[in-house]
């Protein structure tokens, strides 16, 4: 992803900021301009809690060069506690340890480094929820 686009989307990627429909209350991630449920255009910014469960997942063994260091890594559809389903990379978990329905939580990790000289891009990933 190019630098300007990453910069523009940083509060989505850093803080899981989506939208909430003022008319019907539906919450969306990524943020929308029009509510997909009731078509209202009155929406406000909403920050998700970062908690959810694994809806489904897949493990990547062949990746772009950018993600070579991370393989094998897993991508999941995570059902956020507030409703939306989002696509995310999983962190701190081996392919054999993931279970559908498992509680997960958002963490900030390096997404990729743009070569040796480029910027380091950070953003959300999800890891198994810490027990305590």
């Amino acid at each position: 992803m190019d630098i300007p686009r990453y910069w523009r989307l940083r509060n989505q990627r850093y803080r899981l900021e989506g939208t909430e429909c003022i008319e019907c209350g539906q919450r969306n991630f990524p943020p929308r301009c029009i509510c997909p449920h009731c078509k209202s255009d009155s929406l406000k910014s909403f920050r998700f809690s970062g908690r959810g469960t694994v809806y489904s997942f897949s493990t990547i063994y062949q990746a772009l060069d950018t993600f070579d260091k991370d393989i094998p890594y897993s991508i999941a559809l995570v059902k956020l506690d507030e409703g939306p389903l989002i696509t995310t990379q999983l962190a701190d978990v081996g392919p054999d340890e993931i279970q559908i329905g498992q509680p997960v939580e958002m963490v900030i990790r390096k997404i990729y480094e743009d070569g040796e000289n480029g910027p380091i891009q950070y953003g959300y990933k999800f890891r198994p929820a810490l027990k305590e």
Binding site: R15, R109, K110, I111, L130
Partner: protein
């Protein structure tokens, strides 16, 4: 002249938080590969923490700071300084504090800079944050000590160079879980350990590392602090020292007349390694996790180059309320997955492909 440092306005820790990555490399893995296990009975620690391939000082600082914010219950917008102390900032030029403060919602009304002073960069940030709050320039300031330290493959430092650290929100004493009683810093030019620009691994001047560096600086920092505050070792419930291995802090404690019990909770190096700028402050969070209201805690860092910061904190009854709002330091210590040297070498860029 009075040597003790005290801010004009009484200041303390409003919230604290720790972070340690999940992975551990047993010292025996290094010993077996590089020394055929010949030093297996003299290993400096059992194991060290290793960051995952997607972790660095910025990501780790964020989690520790989030834990500190949870305990503090402070509006991030009221934090007016973000200072990250580390010798492993991901960028040579671009402050770690910029990313940290954006993600935590502290921007834009803040100062944000990076500190570097080997293993005492974290306590250096605490000194500065204390001064910033204590002078009234801002209501709250965030100070972080965090590292993903690297040792040259096969070098003595490789056994211990680890990843982790802690974050502290400093603020007015009335809101504090631990009030600063006073601090003192002792610094000289000592060539015990250094890394030149563009070099990946540090060098150490062997004959300087013990007596002339670690022991000398901590001794002077701690004895001056105690003299100026009129305190005895028995006045402290706990003491936390910089911990490059198990032997040094134990010996230092003994020299200063602290008991094994006083240093027990804050001594984590055997399980997580030397987290450099994170080491003494991480141990300090473990001490706070176990502290009772009224307890006095000594924190003494050491940074090569060299210097030591010593602090005396008095724990307040507010600690009971905030302690469980974030994961304990021990819960991060116990969250562990052992890895073998090969995976460590791949993740830590020790395999060079060009």
């Amino acid at each position: 002249m009075s040597k003790i440092m005290k801010p004009i306005r009484k200041t303390g820790i409003i919230g604290y938080g720790a972070y340690i990555p999940k992975y551990r490399l047993p010292a025996s893995e290094i010993s077996n590969l590089w020394r055929d296990g010949q030093d297996k009975d003299f290993l400096p620690i059992k194991q060290k923490s290793v960051p995952g391939p997607d972790e660095d000082t910025i990501t780790m600082s964020i989690e520790a700071s989030q834990n500190a914010l949870k305990r503090a219950g402070t509006d991030p917008q009221k934090i007016r300084a973000v200072w990250v102390g580390s010798e492993s900032h991901p960028y040579a030029v671009k402050p770690s504090g910029t990313v940290v403060s954006q993600i935590l919602g502290i921007v834009p009304d803040t100062v944000a800079g990076d500190f570097e002073f080997a293993c005492k960069a974290g306590t250096e940030a605490i000194q500065a944050a204390t001064a910033f709050v204590g002078s009234g320039m801002g209501e709250y300031a965030l100070a972080v000590g965090m590292d993903t330290a690297q040792g040259k493959p096969g070098d003595a430092l490789e056994y211990t160079a680890a990843a982790g650290g802690a974050a502290f929100i400093m603020g007015p004493a009335e809101e504090a879980v631990a009030v600063l009683e006073g601090s003192y810093s002792y610094v000289t030019d000592t060539p015990d350990f250094f890394r030149r620009a563009h070099q990946k691994y540090p060098e150490h001047g062997n004959r300087f590392t013990g007596d002339l560096a670690y022991f000398h600086h901590i001794f002077n920092a701690v004895t001056t602090l105690m003299e100026e505050l009129n305190l005895q070792t028995s006045d402290f419930a706990q003491a936390v020292f910089h911990q490059p291995n198990v032997k040094f802090p134990r010996k230092k404690a003994k020299d200063l007349n602290f008991t094994a019990k006083q240093i027990k909770e804050g001594l984590l190096v055997d399980f997580v390694g030397n987290t450099y700028a994170g080491a003494s402050v991480l141990g300090f969070t473990a001490a706070l996790d176990k502290a009772n209201p009224g307890d006095r805690i000594l924190l003494a860092s050491f940074g090569s180059g060299a210097g030591s910061d010593a602090f005396s904190f008095i724990v307040t009854d507010k600690i009971e309320k905030v302690r469980d709002r974030a994961p304990s330091t021990r819960s991060y210590v116990h969250r562990e997955e052992k890895i073998e040297y090969a995976r460590y070498a791949r993740w830590r860029n020790k395999i060079v492909m060009h």
